[in-house]
């Protein structure tokens, strides 16, 4: 593997729409995503059910409170953490940029005369493009997490926060191993896993430096906590003489007594486990040279744009993220397009929030629109990050940043109509940047006017039941007269721009209300009133504790 990985250079959130379109027609990808996100979601669901909804909510609230406490006093806790690391013989390096972090690690490897290091999975090292930087400096970084190893062999990037090779089927991995490792092809997962163990054991045996991320940094004690299932992090932190841990400034929590809450939430949210196979708490360097473990311990604390996020009160909470990946697994957008379509390191809803902040809104303007705003991400987030609100906030910022003339299709200042209208926004935005004729631009502007008009009429019809029923009758009439026959199907109204990205089911010949009226004889108006009364009562009941 002498080629220089180009992961640092791949920043393609601008081509999100194109990436997504390609992903949707990629059948193996669709199959792999469906298997993996399905299994992860149901495992998480079962684990949360076992804790009980009430207890789960208590844990989430506590985790949120601890994160709020730490992030709002980050200067204090980081100071304390770093002092404690140094007190116990560790070295702390403060890196404001990705380059500073990479340079420090490369120089450290050179100082020890090393041209290869072993590393465990770390989104932070993906973010700072460490493998690329080390390769440029003549140092090979060997990924040892099985998923990361697969992705590295394939010359790709991880497509999920904690399931890096989620986009690959066993057949893909079998082909890859046969080609790159020169072994006989097998699709047996235990055999492929055993092969990776053998190959990587040999690298561990020779390694002089091990590099890891950090799950939690304990301010009180200067301890770093590492959570895993495979054991490669333990190997990385036990065998080589030098251990380097890279962490974002947001990873610190106050004390050891805060850890249990996060372990409970993280493992259940990520994989549905009560506890991962291994959790390592590492503090400083060993007291005597006769003991096991590294001789040197370095912590690299990285800003790389996080302080800017800290300053934005609307988005500060995105630093609470513990990288469990649950929001990816439930996201209807992620589940269809996978991680690579997002174009940078962090995919899914949390990626759509972090990426524009970290690499610039103009570089990732499409991402906040890559959501149906269904709210599932916010519901599963173990630290209660308000992801849907943040996505809306970022959409607002994207629109604010656009020149006024391209904003013409939003006349209404009302939040709701803006939210509805902007569901469509990413298409307009990304197509604009492709460069297109004046004709298609004006056609689009016209259809934007229609769309806006459509939503206005919709609002008028929906706010009154008589008007709604009248409108529905009218629409059915229009469908019967002007509808087009779908292939072998019923007639539907022709709305090509609308249906290009959505389904438009045909209107039923008789509405539910009409069928109900016929079968029960009850007047629908009363039913509607009863519904409204019932709803109000249940809302009151929810508000009273």
């Amino acid at each position: 593997m002498s080629t220089v990985p180009d992961s640092k250079l791949q920043r393609q959130p601008q081509s999100f729409a194109e990436n997504a379109r390609r992903a949707l027609v990629n059948r193996p990808l669709q199959q792999a995503l469906s298997i993996a996100t399905g299994k992860a979601t149901s495992a998480r669901h079962a684990a949360v059910a076992e804790v009980g909804a009430e207890n789960w909510e208590l844990l989430r609230k506590r985790a949120h409170a601890i994160k709020a406490q730490t992030i709002n006093n980050l200067d204090f806790y980081l100071d304390k953490f770093s002092s404690n690391v140094e007190r116990q013989g560790g070295h702390v390096f403060w890196a404001e940029t990705a380059d500073e972090a990479c340079d420090y690690i490369a120089e450290l490897a050179h100082r020890h005369g090393l041209n290869e290091i072993v590393k465990s999975k770390s989104m932070m090292t993906e973010e700072i493009g460490l493998n690329h930087a080390l390769a440029v400096a003549g140092i090979e970084a060997i990924e040892t997490d099985l998923g990361e190893y697969i992705v590295q062999l394939a010359g790709e990037r991880p497509s999920h926060i904690n399931m890096p090779a989620i986009h690959k089927t066993r057949g893909d991995v079998a082909d890859l191993f046969a080609e790159k490792l020169g072994v006989e092809r097998t699709e047996e997962i235990p055999q492929m896993t055993a092969l990776a163990r053998r190959v990587l054991r040999a690298r561990f045996a020779e390694a002089g430096m091990g590099l890891t991320g950090v799950n939690y940094a304990i301010a009180d004690t200067g301890t770093i906590v590492l959570v895993e299932n495979e054991g490669n992090i333990r190997l990385t932190t036990s065998l080589p003489a030098v251990h380097v841990a890279v962490m974002g400034i947001e990873k610190v929590i106050p004390g050891l007594e805060d850890l249990d809450v996060f372990l409970k939430l993280l493992s259940r949210s990520a994989s549905g486990q009560k506890m991962t196979s291994y959790v390592s708490l590492l503090t400083g360097v060993k007291s005597s040279r006769a003991e096991e473990g590294p001789d040197e311990f370095h912590v690299v604390i990285v800003d790389n744009g996080r302080i800017k996020i800290l300053a934005d009160e609307h988005l500060r909470e995105s630093l609470y993220c513990i990288r469990c990946g649950a929001c990816l697994n439930v996201c209807p957008v992620y589940r269809k397009i996978g991680g690579h379509a997002y174009g940078w390191v962090y995919p899914g809803p949390i990626g759509a929030v972090l990426t524009p902040q970290m690499i610039g809104l103009d570089q990732a303007a499409a991402l906040p629109f890559a959501s149906s705003l269904c709210g599932a991400c916010g519901d599963v987030c173990p630290v209660k990050i308000k992801l849907p609100e943040m996505l809306l906030h970022l959409r607002h910022k994207v629109k604010e940043a656009e020149p006024p003339e391209s904003r013409t299709h939003y006349h209404s200042k009302e939040d709701t109509s803006e939210a509805l209208g902007s569901l469509n926004g990413f298409r307009h935005k990304s197509e604009n940047s492709d460069g297109q004729s004046a004709w298609s631009r004006s056609r689009k502007r016209l259809s934007n006017v229609f769309e806006h008009l459509g939503f206005r009429l919709w609002a008028i019809a929906m706010t009154n039941s008589q008007r709604y029923q009248a409108a529905a009758r009218l629409a059915r009439l229009a469908q019967a007269v002007a509808g087009r026959r779908k292939a072998n199907g019923p007639r539907v109204l022709p709305m090509p721009r609308w249906t290009a990205t959505r389904d438009l089911p045909p209107l039923a010949r008789r509405s539910f209300r009409e069928q109900w009226l016929e079968s029960s004889g009850e007047p629908t108006g009363d039913m509607a009133r009863q519904d409204a009364t019932h709803l109000k009562e249940s809302q009151r009941a929810e508000q009273t504790p």
């Binding site: 204090f76 116990q88 340079d103 054991g231 490669n232 249990d260 291994y278 300053a311």
Partner: protein, 241 residues
């Protein structure tokens, strides 16, 4: 890399953080959060030992109750059924020393791997020699410092015992556990430990929590055991009669 000192770069980063948060000066200790009182895990009539065993089995580990030194010996001999000469690495954990387990296994005909202490592991050569030997070893035997009932977790602590490699490199890990070392959960253990052994604020250099064998689900979310660490974990709960 600049020649700037570490304290300068730390001060610069912290002052930028203060500015972002709107803090005017160096933050004093923030008010601590109210203690979080989780209900102790429901007993359901279980003892801590039963709960521990049940959770460990769920995590893919195996549990056996042993009453004597000989039973420990027999259990390990049964693991060697295919290869009676399979090499065994034995840690310097207290229970293991108390039982004289090393001598016992040797008398059973097992090849015992030299421990790090015997290598006089104060130089790099002897350390890497130790690592190489362990990489080839079939069974690692350790003793747990603590265990957690609610998750079926073993807790091994550096300092008293060289546990890190013996519990990780061989494909089979056997761990001895005294039942009185089982705590309800991590929170209880940490508060016990904070009040006791490392009240000075310095935890052991390495505290390792082990819950079941090494596992991965990186290929099609299919769980596969023994990817980097042991493929099987046997916990022998030792209660002498």
């Amino acid at each position: 890399m600049s020649m700037e000192s570490s304290s300068q770069s730390r001060e610069r980063m912290l002052s930028r953080i203060r500015a972002a948060l709107g803090h005017s000066s160096i933050g004093s200790a923030p008010d601590e959060l109210e203690p979080f009182l989780t209900k102790a895990p429901a007993g359901n009539g279980y003892s801590l030992v039963d709960r521990f065993g049940e959770e460990l089995r769920r995590a893919g580990g195996q549990v056996a109750h042993v009453k004597s030194r000989d039973e420990v010996g027999r259990y390990i001999a049964d693991l060697q059924i295919d290869d009676i000469k399979a090499s065994v690495a034995v840690s310097d954990g207290r229970l293991i020393r108390d039982l004289g387990l090393r001598d016992l296994l040797q008398s059973q005909g097992s090849e015992i791997v030299t421990t790090l202490a015997e290598f006089r592991g104060d130089d790099r050569d002897s350390k890497s020699q130790y690592q190489r030997v362990l990489l080839e070893c079939a069974i690692g035997v350790t003793a747990a410092d603590y265990a957690l009932a609610d998750t079926g977790t073993l807790v091994l602590v550096s300092g008293g015992e060289q546990h890190r490699l013996i519990s990780l490199l061989p494909p089979v890990h056997v761990c001895l556990l005294s039942p009185h070392l089982i705590f309800p959960s991590l929170t209880q253990l940490l508060s016990h430990a904070k009040a006791g052994s490392y009240s000075g604020g310095t935890p052991p250099q390495a505290l390792t929590c082990i819950t079941g064998p090494s596992r991965t689900a990186d290929i099609e979310q299919t769980i596969t055991l023994g990817v980097h660490g042991p493929q099987s974990l046997h916990v022998l709960i030792y209660s002498p009669e």
